[in-house]
């Protein structure tokens, strides 16, 4: 049972991790992230990097959809903007990767603001359709502005480099992706400790009364679009450094749906939910694939027979999670924590 969490100041009470145990776990997690590439192979590093990139983009979408209540299906297209920006800057200018990623985020944010303009008038499904339209337009631009984007064949770019060191293999790119993901997650968590995060939640819950409380709706809706797209743009930039080939097909509409599914499965309006959702959506198909792989020595046809079953199981898992915990994995996590905090008493 958890006892004795006395605070002496309001700042201490408002801390992100307010108990020693929590801080301890957090340091353990960070240490784990720092040591990870030394103990895993390239394939595992590859998967971890993919998960981290998806976490950044999912966190961005959660700020917009989960916290501000604006449904968007444009997240993959914003990632595309970031990826193309990074690729072009790396090819044409050769500027440092951090600058490229910032510009990628910034440009995606600007485009996000433009796409977000209808949000003052339309909500819910209507806004989702408006953002689909935007992502189709962006896809068209990627595919047809051949002189800049390289058309359907896309762009191949050099790896990121720092003081002559080139980040080529997944366990090398990891050192770019991991710190940026951690920083951006802390940023997202901080956002909701301030007036800006509160304004977003107010807009989600009751936008009209939010206005009477002094929140300028258009400004904050667009700000939410900007921040969300910034995250997508940076995620797209990281994606570009990871795969080093950017084509229009890299960021299809299904990817936007993937992120939407990730925040729903993980938990809308929860930073932890973004992480859990992105991990779940990226890793479960991989784990199922591995399980099929384990079967193949015993059952030679396993891969052929089980592949469709794998997809069905994945879909089924999502549905089961949603039925049993509509608030997502984050809520399951909170229930587990509550259990241990109150143990040996029952919740």
């Amino acid at each position: 049972m958890r006892i004795g969490t006395v605070k002496e100041s309001y700042i201490a009470d408002a801390a992100l991790f307010d108990t020693k145990v929590q801080r301890g776990w957090m340091f353990a997690l960070l240490a784990g992230l720092l040591l990870l590439p030394f103990f895993t192979g390239q394939y595992a590093s590859y998967l971890v990097c993919l998960v981290l990139i998806n976490i950044v983009s999912t966190a961005g979408l959660n700020i917009l959809t989960g916290f501000t209540g604006l449904v968007s299906l444009g997240q993959a297209a914003f990632m595309g903007v970031g990826a193309y920006t990074v690729a072009l800057m790396e090819i044409k200018l050769g500027t440092p990767f951090l600058l490229n990623l910032l510009v990628a985020g910034g440009l995606a944010a600007v485009i996000g603001i433009v796409v977000g303009l209808p949000s003052l008038r339309v909500k819910g499904l209507y806004l989702a359709i408006a953002t689909i339209a935007a992502s189709v337009i962006l896809h068209f631009v990627f595919a047809n502005w051949t002189s800049v984007t390289g058309g359907v064949s896309g762009l191949s770019m050099p790896p990121a480099s720092l003081f002559g060191f080139e980040f080529i293999q997944p366990d090398q790119v990891y050192w770019i992706i991991m710190p940026i993901t951690v920083i951006m997650l802390f940023g997202a968590a901080n956002l909701f400790r301030t007036r800006i995060g509160r304004a977003f939640i107010a807009i989600r819950d009751r936008d009209i009364s939010a206005e009477v409380l002094g929140i300028r709706l258009l400004r904050y809706k667009l700000l939410s679009f900007a921040i969300s797209s910034f995250y997508a743009g940076v995620a797209g930039g990281l994606w570009a450094y990871f795969f080093r080939v950017v084509t229009p097909e890299s960021f299809p509409l299904t990817m936007s749906i993937f992120f939407l599914a990730a925040i729903i499965v993980g938990g809308m309006g929860s930073i932890l939910g973004s992480v859990l959702g992105a991990v779940f959506m990226t890793m479960v198909p991989e784990v199922l694939k591995m399980m099929v792989g384990v079967l193949s020595p015993i059952w030679p046809d396993a891969v052929a027979v089980m592949s469709p079953v794998r997809i069905i199981v994945f879909g089924g898992l999502i549905i089961i999670f949603l039925i049993f915990e509509p608030d997502g994995l984050a809520e399951i996590w909170r229930n587990i924590r509550r259990f241990f905090h109150l143990w040996p008493f029952k919740t």
Binding site: Y10, T194, I201, A202, L213
Partner: protein, 286 residues
Amino acid sequence: MQMSQVSEQEVSPTLHTEGREILGVQGLSLAFGGVKALSHVSFSVKEGSITSVIGPNGAGKTSLFNSISGFYTPNEGTVKFLGQTMNNVPAPDRAELGMARTFQNIALFKGMTVLDNIKLGRHAHMKTNPLDALLYFGRARREEAELRKEVEEKIIDFLEIDHIRNQSVAALSYGLQKRVELARALAMKPKILLLDEPVAGMNREETEDMARFILDVKEEWGVTVLMVEHDMGLVMDLSDHVVCINFGQVITEGLPHEVQSHPDVISAYLGSGDVAALRKKFKEGK
């Protein structure tokens, strides 16, 4: 602390400033298609007073509130606040100028805790920008800490809601939700507080608590109160000035007892008939 300094300097000397108009409604008309919700409503609210708007259901009280707070744009007439015409001032700016309101059908944000709901009230008076917020360093951290201290020490203590500060508002009883809404309005550094049915649906004890809070807000904080209320006992006990409207028009206004015994008011509430008999009944009933 900051709040008390501000209010003392700007609003608090109630006795000296009483009599000056803080909010003036002049010839306000509002129509939804053919339905005239308000027609030529005029009255004024004196600084440091409690003014009540009464009237039967559908009389236009909430429409009047919505026009004052900037929810609706009136077709005609003006709302003057602190001597400034509000017609072209959007709702968020009115909030920043010091107009705070609560809603008849509680407009708290269900996804937030009580504390966050109250803090939200201060939104317009804070300066944290997105970059500060992402880093939570410097200004963001300082502003949040100051706000937390003030909310805790001035508002939560005052309204006696310290036991629920970390609960989600969705889990609270109706009476407590109304109190949290008042807390949020107080966090807005209001100069005038618009209360839309502050005690509707409350039991006697909760009503008495709320009445005490409203009086304290006026006397200790020096905030002017304009309220819509159906509970005649409360209106008559608290108000300095009562405005009665029916069918979107001001029937009469004046001191509570004057309005109470005005024949038009009685007929508006009870229907026309033998006024003397109804008046007797009305006085006995309430």
